[in-house]
């Protein structure tokens, strides 16, 4: 099954596609003079999505030098998402422990976060933890058996960013990370 958000590799495995939104973020990171800070922040994960870093999720937008320290720009996924506070605290904790100087976390609203900002690695990771990754056409594949015979159970799942689905082939219930 090939969807707009994924391709099939020669062995028949689904590979998430590389979006322009992610490419832009990646270019920003590669050109940045703050490489070690980006690397350190790979340790900061979304508290609701086990093992998914804020880089892969697209929440970490930019890092800039600021008066000998660093300004970290993050964008919220959903405007009321309670994970934002935890993420900010975790950023400060990681960078304090690394002793990199003063750190300021700034919330930026533009451009608005979209699931297109999620990295291909992030989408693969979601699937590994049995969360169906976002799809442009909301074509939801079961993260366990890859069947497209799935049904929407509820438009909101365990968090605002997910919907609850059931696979009609293997009967597994799973969260779908809504395309947004």
């Amino acid at each position: 099954m090939t969807t707009k958000n994924s391709q099939v590799d020669p062995s028949g495995k689904l590979i998430p596609t590389y979006t322009p939104e992610f490419a832009e973020r990646q270019a920003r990171r590669q050109k940045s003079s703050c490489g070690k800070i980006w690397d350190l922040l790979d340790q900061v994960h979304d508290p609701e999505l086990p093992g998914l870093s804020i880089w892969d999720l697209g929440v970490l937008q930019n890092i800039k030098p600021l008066n000998g320290g660093w300004e970290i720009e993050v964008t919220p996924t959903y405007s009321g998402c309670p994970a934002v506070e935890t993420i900010n605290e975790d950023i400060l904790k990681v960078l304090k422990n690394a002793g990199v100087g003063e750190v300021k976390v700034t919330l930026v609203l533009a451009p608005a976060w979209t699931t297109e900002m999620i990295s291909p690695a992030g989408k693969s990771h979601l699937k590994r933890i049995h969360i169906a990754p976002p799809d442009v056409n909301d074509e939801v594949l079961c993260p366990v058996c890859d069947s497209n015979d799935t049904r929407l159970v509820s438009q909101f799942g365990s968090t605002a960013c997910k919907a609850l689905y059931q696979c009609l082939a293997c009967h597994e219930h799973f969260d779908y990370f809504k395309h947004f």
Partner: protein
């Protein structure tokens, strides 16, 4: 009038709309008709509290008197609240809550889409974030209205009862204040008047498919932006603001 004061009033009005509706939706938490719906209503409430926070934070900065978003939300009285009345009506039953949600979802999808083009960049960014959420809310509220209208005699009766009350409050969504007009002339705000025809068409079409006639109500109750409220808001605020009033300055 002073543009800064106009902008402050505008931001607080929109924020009040959001925080009041958010609190109403949160009253369904643990009382939803079933678990998934309970979670959905709470999540919609969360989106609205997020929207309110972005607007209050901006309003506090525009005001520049050192007040925080919490000060504005929790330490103003009923008469200082300027939300449009439709947001403050009690949740009543599920049909009422969903019909109100459908009405405001249709409204916000168009209103916020236009606000994305505001000449005020911060406001445009807030709108860009919020409009996506409202579009998702509409995907849920619209099928519910169809389901309730075409469900049982009882569900149809409840939708009609809800409609008989709500139709008196929708007109206020399209009323422009003088200061709001000045902001719209400068490209900052959106002209609400222009949204009425599209909104009517959308709502009448959907309800018409279920043989429900929706016509303009003769009685259009207004006053929210001037701080004149229904009897319900004061009770709601006493609950919402209790903690901050009883323990001033309390933080999580």
């Amino acid at each position: 009038m002073d543009q800064k004061l106009n902008l402050y009033r505008f931001l607080v009005g929109l924020a009040d709309d959001s925080v009041v509706l958010s609190h109403r939706l949160s009253q369904w938490c643990s009382n939803g008709p079933y678990l998934e719906e309970d979670i959905a209503l709470s999540n919609v409430a969360l989106d609205y509290i997020g929207r309110a926070r972005m607007l209050y934070q901006y309003a506090a900065e525009v005001e520049g008197e050192g007040r925080s978003e919490d000060d504005i939300a929790y330490l103003r009285n009923e008469r200082e609240y300027t939300n449009l009345l439709i947001h403050e009506l009690p949740i009543n039953d599920f049909a009422f809550t969903m019909l109100r949600q459908f009405f405001v979802d249709v409204f916000y999808c168009e209103y916020l889409a236009r606000l994305c083009h505001s000449t005020d960049e911060r406001l445009a960014a807030i709108a860009a974030k919020s409009v996506k959420e409202s579009r998702y809310h509409l995907k849920r509220s619209e099928p519910w209205i169809k389901q309730l209208a075409e469900g049982t005699e009882e569900s149809l009766r409840r939708i009609k009862t809800a409609l008989a009350e709500l139709e008196n409050f929708v007109g206020e969504l399209f009323v422009m204040q003088d200061w709001e007009k000045e902001l719209a002339d400068n490209g900052i705000a959106v002209d609400r008047n222009q949204l009425k025809v599209g909104w009517d068409h959308y709502v009448q079409k959907l309800l018409g498919e279920s043989n429900i006639v929706f016509a303009d109500s003769q009685l259009q109750i207004q006053g929210g932006r001037d701080g004149i409220h229904t009897e319900h808001l004061g009770h709601m605020l006493s609950e919402m603001q209790f903690l901050q009033r009883a323990y001033p300055g309390l933080k999580w």
